[in-house]
Symmetry: C2
Subunit: 218 residues, 2 copies
């Protein structure tokens, strides 16, 4: 049974993991007979957004604790995760990727990535294990590997984020909603999901393709 | 295009909507060509549970605001929802159903149900429109309709909750994980989902059957 790390960044599209993308990833893995291992960093969220109004609130929430909502309690501090224990890794999207796993939302191409996210991605790559990036998450891949390895990545067709990916050392490939871009040599797969999707089923089509491809490579 | 109300009770299995059940419901509706209309009451949650530790926290969170995380911002106060605008109604589960939509978690068979939840369910029933209840949500149906109409309902095989449903005036029917119980005369469908499911795909099988049956009846 293949074990796949699913890296969460909170619980909610505006300040954490995109919930639909995370759940559809977990469902696709389970249906394929793989075991999902939910992971998240034990850090406070960059901020909390009221998802009804879009306004920032004065609350403080922890990424690992909120991720546990999506994971039904079963989530591990990413600090304790190692590539040796995993066959593949997948990053659902949501602004939490660009706010809590990295600082891309605030600093663009000058962003930094959480230390354990960087470490785990590099370990996976060194071990020749596949990594999937959904939605905005390919920005992580560009920041982590850019300069060392030029990965084929997609966020769909957003010109601003595509340009940032290229500037950080990735190679952005335009991709239709519901499809995937595969960097076969480096075992990296990406899909635009809610970067383009106008509905949950559009996002799901790409996510299901990504999960299948990642498992095939694992 | 059929419009289906999806009643949320927060965001997280321990104090709100069960996230997997809610997302799989939304996905199944979208894939069937139906439009989901997310609804939730504008009230504070009964409490907030840290989903990592299972402990209650000192926070206050609002059901409508947290439900907006699952609904990606598109959620309507259930006070403004009317059966005339909907073709069907579905309740995902999670303890929020028994804590925020009703007081079943605290008062058992002596529980009360949120006024607008009761009103909307009764309107739907009067209009001959179908309602689906997942997981623990059939307790709402038993409390709302028990005494007037004896509905066939299932929460799987949990003896305690089954007995409560019978005591409130429902007729509990044992059901396998991943299956549904249909009360055809009253257009009510239920499925155990995470009352029994040991995995997200087990829950999904029943949810997808429930959505298909509800849409067929609509």
């Amino acid at each position: 049974m293949k074990k796949v790390g699913v890296v969460l960044s909170g619980c909610g599209v505006q300040d954490g993991s995109e919930i639909h993308e995370a759940v559809i990833t977990l469902l696709a893995l389970d249906r394929a007979g793989a075991t999902a291992v939910c992971l998240a960093p034990n850090v406070d969220q960059a901020h909390v957004i009221n998802h009804l109004t879009g306004q920032q609130t004065r609350e403080t929430r922890n990424v690992l604790v909120e991720a546990a909502r999506i994971a039904r309690g079963h989530v591990t501090d990413i600090q304790r995760a190692h590539a040796a224990d995993l066959d593949a890794l997948i990053f659902p999207g949501g602004f939490g990727v660009a706010k809590n796993l990295s600082t891309f939302a605030f600093k663009g191409v000058d962003c930094t990535v959480h230390g354990d996210v960087t470490r785990l991605c590099k370990e996976m790559h060194q071990d020749g294990k596949p990594i999937g990036f959904l939605c905005i998450a390919p920005t992580l891949a560009a920041r982590i590997f850019g300069g060392e390895v030029q990965l084929d990545l997609t966020v769909g067709s957003d010109p601003e984020v595509a340009a940032a990916i290229n500037k950080m050392g990735g190679r952005h490939v335009t991709c239709a909603t519901g499809d995937i871009v595969v960097d076969a040599a480096n075992k990296v797969v990406s899909s635009p999901a809610y970067m383009c999707a106008k509905s949950v089923s559009e996002a799901a089509t790409g996510i299901e393709k990504l999960v299948a491809k990642v498992l095939e490579m694992a």
